[in-house]
Symmetry: C2
Subunit: 208 residues, 2 copies
């Protein structure tokens, strides 16, 4: 089956599929039904079949899907096996917390540099990397070609930092600053809105 273009909603769901499937692989499971994935993801089984169909994946009647096949296809789609590299801009509390995140441990992304504009932060060790000054960024990128930059600076420094990484040939930006960034159109930006999940939780608690 041919792959269709993915909608934004599906692109947002794929990491959730992958987390579930990763768990199944760890548990040594062989197969899974659309109904079970439906329960895990909180969407209908027919939506699951449509989603996987968009990736060219189809199940078998009475068997379901091969866990390994789904896991590998999703991992491929998400760039888990691509050996991609990342830098963190901002060596404050958030930068520290992100450097220790397990997405950089066996999840297909390698953290190769941490940068900060504050001279007091330069030279500190974060996740075995020495924090480098921002004026070393361009040279670093010419040598190491990081794919992704994680922006973990203060909101007021966000736009300047974003422009700096974009000028260095970064291919995508993960923005934790909650500032709307103005960057060249060809460089994709995803923003992590921590507050969103607080609101999702808030809908589920009672006020009694």
């Amino acid at each position: 089956m041919e792959k269709a273009a993915l909608t934004r909603e599906l692109a947002l769901r794929l990491p959730r599929y992958f987390r579930v499937l990763r768990q199944y692989v760890i548990q040594g499971r062989q197969k899974v039904s659309s109904g079970e994935l439906s329960g895990q993801l909180g969407i209908t089984a027919s939506q699951v079949r449509r989603d996987l169909g968009c990736l060219g994946l189809s199940g078998q009647n009475g068997y379901g899907y091969s866990v390994k096949e789904l896991h590998d296809a999703l991992g491929e789609e998400l760039g888990v096996f691509g050996g991609r590299t990342a830098v963190i801009i901002g060596a404050g509390h958030l930068g520290h917390a992100l450097a220790a995140h397990r997405m950089f441990v066996g999840r297909g992304f390698t953290l190769i540099g941490v940068f900060d504009r504050d001279p007091a932060a330069v030279g500190r060790k974060i996740a075995d990397l020495s924090v480098l000054p921002m004026d070393r960024l361009a040279e670093f990128c010419r040598t190491h070609h990081p794919h992704i930059a994680l922006l973990a600076v203060d909101a007021k420094n966000a736009q300047e930092a974003a422009q700096a990484v974009c000028a260095c040939g970064i291919k995508g930006l993960l923005n934790f600053t909650e500032t709307e960034l103005d960057v060249p159109k060809q460089i994709p930006v995803e923003s992590v809105h921590v507050g969103d999940m607080l609101y999702v939780l808030s809908q589920r608690i009672s006020d009694e």
Copy 2:
């Protein structure tokens, strides 16, 4: 129109609607069409109309929706106006970063306590709050009744910390540990998967 029960997918979309509408309110806009919201959210206009219909909101032909009406209804649904309170468990880098997050500044949630099991962390100032030891949590909750706990501890301490807050009458848990928590069914848990957005970004960058 009567309110229908919200699906999980819609519950996840509501904070995104709210962010867009909040921006419109700040800009002083009066009205918005389903087509425009559709573009902002990356879903179809008919999905926007269905979503808002689930909240009992309908637009007018040729006018669209009132920005203020949508904003207020969504804010109500998300508990933005409810004066809810939160504590953070874990005073490490992540706890520090969360305490400074703007979700606690004018977004309807007030941070009232930070706790840590490490005696070395106790007494430190985070966001004007003195870090308290975990053995003060029960007494604190009896007095202040926080609604939500943000779990920002190491993965290996996650389950123990979750049990502690659940035993103290917390109404909901925001889990940053990426550990699957085993807590009483009546206490909702939402997990923030920072790595998911890295994968969403990864889908959008080219490998050449």
